[in-house]
Subunit: 377 residues, 2 copies
């Protein structure tokens, strides 16, 4: 069992009787040696149990690791409890995988982002930050390391590339829809956004200081359509399903009860649906509920959820293309319209802007999907 030291390139070279460079070429540049010799090298390598060039040594020599650091806001289970993340990362992974890049997950710690130390020590060629709170230390660490950066659903950082969605517009669409249905008493349900650490009721002014850009934007979108309406704001205590449920009960327990609840994610909306069922409140009879994202579970719920659709797959794909472009030394130019539309979205390609040569921002379009969870007041 105590195997000898693993064989290295040199061992193979010695065994074959060629130079180290030749063995390296056998793996990396087959055109640099005769097919015959190459076969022999590979055969001897197999005999010796040589598994191919050591990834770390190769990385040092080439200064590319083949990994993408994914900076998350929270723990893995919390982060992945929202299907939106899996969908987006999956699409991202599919784009970068053919180029040999894998995802290195850096879950968030207590302060809403991975510890700087983890970022500094991560073996990665580039960082992707997903919906981090503004100003977390992890982003500074990315900069000090000089890593290229792509941010998703976050404010644009100078020098980085960004992809997001039309948050404000989407929120406005949902609010307008409910308003047109005659609703005048609204609940707004925000995800945990560090305003009120324990969660709870919020004033609009407080919410405007949320640590997350999408929270701020969506809020603005809602409120812009709700002039002269009663509005109750609630922030969830955490990102877990339990805290969402707590918040849902609080919102539905408000007196007088809102006739419509605008939720900043489908997860929150589904929690409101669950709470309403438990309380015996009819949806959409007594209360209408709208979500945001149009993640898959939105269409399976009962009633199926009215929600703001954003193309999560396209978002991930664009992020992936930005990653590749930055890796190629590009300046984070926004992927061409061709690739965006190839993303399968039927709507217009969304707004896009390149601010200077060093940063770029893309947004996927949104649209309202009306299903069964909303009805007349």
């Amino acid at each position: 069992m105590t195997r000898r030291r693993r064989p290295t390139l040199d061992d193979v070279a010695d065994a074959v009787g060629v130079s180290r460079a030749t063995v390296s070429n056998a793996y990396n540049r087959p055109d640099q040696l005769s097919a015959r010799l190459r076969d022999q090298v590979l055969r001897v390598a197999a005999e010796l149990g040589y598994a191919g060039p050591d990834p770390t040594a190769r990385s040092l020599a080439t200064s590319r690791t083949g990994a993408i650091a994914v900076l998350l806001d929270t723990s893995l289970s919390t982060a992945f409890s929202d299907p939106a993340l899996s969908l987006t990362l999956d699409a991202l992974a599919r784009v970068v995988d053919p180029r040999g890049h894998a995802l290195l997950l850096l879950p968030g710690g207590a302060h809403g982002g991975p510890p700087a130390e983890r970022v500094l020590g991560a073996q990665a060629d580039i960082a992707v930050a997903y919906s981090l709170a503004d100003g977390v230390a992890a982003l500074d660490a990315v900069r000090t390391r000089g890593l290229p950066l792509v941010v998703i659903d976050q404010p644009l950082v100078p020098g980085a590339a960004r992809v997001g969605c039309q948050d404000r517009l989407g929120a406005a669409l949902a609010a307008r829809h409910l308003r047109e249905l005659g609703h005048r008493r609204f609940g707004i349900f925000a995800a945990h956004s560090h305003v009120r650490p324990g969660g709870g009721a919020l004033t609009a002014a407080e919410a405007a200081g949320a640590a997350f850009r999408d929270t701020r934007e969506r809020l603005a979108g809602y409120l812009g359509e709700l002039d002269s309406c009663e509005v109750v704001l609630h922030e969830a205590a955490g990102l877990s399903a339990e805290s969402a449920l707590d918040g849902a009960f609080a919102l539905l327990g408000a007196v007088p009860r809102p006739t419509a609840v605008l939720c900043m994610s489908d997860q929150l909306a589904l929690a409101v649906l669950a709470a309403a069922r438990q309380l015996g409140i009819a949806v959409p009879g007594e209360v209408s509920v709208a979500g945001f994202d149009d993640s898959p579970p939105a269409s399976w719920s009962s009633p199926p959820l009215t929600t703001v659709r954003q193309d999560l797959v396209a978002k991930g794909r664009i992020a992936g293309e930005l990653v590749l472009s930055l890796l190629d030394g590009g300046s984070g130019a926004v992927p061409t319209a061709g690739s965006v539309s190839a993303a399968g979205s039927m709507s217009a390609a969304g707004s896009v802007s390149a601010a200077g040569s060093a940063s770029a921002s893309a947004e996927v379009p949104v649209s309202l999907v009306v299903r069964g969870s909303t009805g007349p007041a």
Copy 2:
């Protein structure tokens, strides 16, 4: 913008006027130099914009990367659509994080596991395989590289450590429960297991050849309790929610319809619940449904799901401890009873066995959780 080459250890050393070794020590072994000098080194490093030792170079020198390769069966979105994975990986990550290890995700390709090439090129100290089909190439690649290996919910590989759950017992508990309720006509719903690529009805003999150990074990557990009962077997076409729903319709459409459906995961059971609702079939009035895993959504469904509970967090935690132990040169000894019970499970610590000095196997215990989805025939 065109910054000079990033500073290295040597640059800092030169700037301070000390040797390279001293700067290295400033970062890695503070006790090796005077506090005064160390401060100076760190200060100069900051001025120079040096972000600390390059992770790759450090890895090459120390031969530790600080990453754990996680081998998945499917794409990310599919894999993470089951909360069981997030929960387990989260628990695993929490155990290894304090030691500076992050997770490198290697999603599965067409053949039910990551391509060997990805495994060979992954920068990782150890591999964790999660519920891979038997005999995928990725596992061979792990061996050729000589990477330590921990498998979760898979057959034990020689030289690896393993953690799983008492699949057979759990399945038997569920089947017995329904049988005792008077059911005699059963449906069994298996996840995609490569027997019938397109999904569909299966004979017991076919199912016994499933590519996944847990499928085989759970099946055996069910069937062992169902003597002289009618049994219809169905395999889902894929792992997506859509294919689960299709399978659920097929099972509920069988004539005569089963009065009880045993599902090999909660995801499948929830799909059956959804299908039943759409078909107007009362649960548990007309059909009883049981799941497996007791993932969080099991308790939120309506009716809440009767299911086999396994402590997913404990499973992840044990896996994490096995990882650390293997990394420490341990032989994959099963974590002590202390750590297992610390996992928060109230039941007995499950069965554990160490086969030889080079491999070990742990199983988390299971128990039946009876909720609202099962009732008398």
